[in-house]
Symmetry: C2
Subunit: 359 residues, 2 copies
DNA sequence: GTGAAAGCGCTAACAT
DNA sequence: ATGTTAGCGCTTTCAC
């Protein structure tokens, strides 16, 4: 009834304790589900918590414990459709484990990465999922030392030992290239990605090895590029200008492949009749009949789930094990862009070791 | 040199103070750029900070100040291409003001929204950008009371007074419909979105008013739907089955329009010859020559920037003003899907009051 | 089983 | 201009 008892701010542990007639430590125990609490107290505290609508402060918790229940996700470009799909999965999985997600755009710039990681450290994140690693993987690990566990995904890290979950990019590329060879293509073009991105490198490697295998009589053409549509368009135009357009073109990812499709259309060429086209990732869009793009599918959702699972396991294991890896299967989804026999009916060609060694 | 001085953890304000031979308050003043600090001390402290690589703890700051330098962004579905574009812009703008961004997926579910907002409150975010408001706008404002400023965007909130920055959806819809009418279309279909989404409602309203204007001799057809491709496909199929397919179809957003395109293709119909198609948002993808979709562009980047700007202004103004609004111009980007005279050359038809009253 | 007390890294009076 | 002190809301010994 006193005037000074005016505080209308959010209930704290203190106010709960007061209202329940116990000490804050008891409330703390109840909140954390500790065992050493009498039934009577527990019930009373629970009731008060309910009544007051008390919610523990994650900030205070983070300050004292050194951990916020947060995970950081590093992506090069959230506007690239692949990443939102991954982010969605990671967010879901993280939340299932009680973690909130902070997404950071690195733009594949080491300085940006560094700044973001500093911020994540300051936020006392429980762990970091790096989905767009590159040349600075080493620096990242050095920066966080053993303070924050890191799981790489999408792109295999360039440093060992490290924890990662990536798709069998090379295997997928081999399967895809073989599919194209089987279709009778002899001149196959590959629009590559940036060299610092290991997924791009592995896809290229798989392509090369398939082309160079002794059963193959195919010839490979290469064009440098990035992960953008623009990159695909440029490659096609260049090849066209040089008068040596391949009869089949692989984009290092679906965005590039879409760029390829676009430029081919502009040139008045038919897909797959004149040129077959395929990509990687099987992002949602390209499965549409409008594009009907053959693509190497990596289960993006599974990748996100596994990455979080790995991170959480790392978090809970006191020993800072490093070197946990998991390989996700990659399978070729054959669609109209590489096979004109296909109309409504798409085929699936499984592939990849899909083993997942677990140290 | 003592053994116990082993602590290798991150430098704190305390350790900086010690090393610089001053008190923590002085360090705090230096860090915050306070004026009342002697040149000598300031220099010494700066040097030590540099040397130790000290970074202030945002968590401790948040605990004492009640604010983390964070902004929450609520979106219905991060995998919908519109939102990553918005998120990117919001993140950039937020960071420019020193804020980090936390993205939350509400799935247009009030319960999810509520839970996420609770989390954001507990995180002591400086403000919230709600990009997917709906029936629960009222509840959201009630939940945060005056604790956290909220700016609505994309969808105009259903409650007044409130702060928002949205596009001139109705105006854009009118302009788009008029464009279709000018093209000679008399039966125009509109695939609507969920009723709780005001942007969808306003687009429909604009469509209706254009159709019903006295100059128009057009007839409007309506099909209920959501914001998904599926929604567009179903509408087309239904109309087709009923034998009353319009000669022009507007999707409530680009995703729906793409679904429309897809189903038309499956039915073997030509765009724009048999049916013209248009959408809203002008997301990056649909500008591609592959789709060449006519769309009502709202400057997504500008929308994000303005939303953050508004939020920051709200944050800095002690008075909790409510009722700040801004309307973004909407313009019809005419492409091949509604005009077969167009090939490489796209036209722009500006529209919208584009005023932006500013209370 | 429960409480008292120290302290996480800061900011903000209030001294001086 | 600078130092001292009291918290912010919690967890965590350590007593009892």
């Amino acid at each position: 009834m006193t005037l000074r008892n005016f505080k209308s701010s959010a209930p704290t542990m203190h106010s709960v304790a007061e209202a329940a007639g116990v000490s804050v430590s008891t409330v703390s125990r109840v909140v954390r589900g500790h065992v050493d609490v009498g039934e009577a107290s527990r019930a009373r505290v629970q009731a008060v918590i309910e009544e007051l609508g008390y919610r523990p402060s994650p900030i205070a918790r983070a300050l004292v414990s050194g951990h916020s229940m947060t995970i950081g996700l590093l992506v090069s470009d959230i506007a690239n459709p692949f990443y939102p799909q991954l982010a969605k999965s990671v967010e879901r999985a993280a939340r299932k484990h009680g973690y909130a997600l902070v997404i950071c755009n690195t733009e594949d710039d080491p300085r940006e990465t560094k700044k973001h990681v500093e911020m994540l450290e300051d936020l006392r994140v429980g762990g970091i999922v790096q989905a767009s690693g590159g040349a600075d993987d080493q620096a990242l690990l050095k920066q966080v030392r053993d303070r924050v566990p890191v799981v790489f995904t999408n792109r295999r890290p360039s440093v060992e030992p490290s924890n990662y979950v990536v798709a069998d990019n090379a295997g997928g590329a081999v399967a895809l290239t073989e599919h194209l060879l089987e279709q009778g293509h002899l001149r196959i073009g590959f629009v590559a990605g940036p060299e610092f991105a290991s997924n791009a490198a592995e896809r290229l490697k798989g392509f090369r090895s398939a082309i160079e295998s002794r059963e193959s009589r195919g010839q490979g053409l290469l064009h440098a590029g990035s992960f953008s549509m623009e990159s695909g368009r440029i490659a096609v135009q260049d090849w066209w200008d040089e008068g040596r357009l391949p009869t089949a073109i692989i984009g290092v990812n679906d965005l590039v492949a879409v760029g390829v499709l676009e430029q081919l259309m502009i040139l008045g060429l038919k897909v797959p009749d004149d040129v077959a086209v395929a990509g990687f990732d099987d992002i949602e869009l390209v499965g549409s009949k409008l594009l009907s793009l053959t693509s190497v599918r990596q289960d993006i959702e599974q990748m996100g789930i596994e990455a979080v699972k790995m991170l959480v396991r790392l978090l809970h294991s006191e020993s800072r094990v490093a070197g946990v890896r998991k390989i996700i299967r990659a399978q070729v989804i054959v669609r109209g862009s590489t096979s004109y026999r296909l109309t409504a009916l798409d085929q699936i060609r499984p592939r990849g070791r899909g083993v997942g060694s677990q140290l």
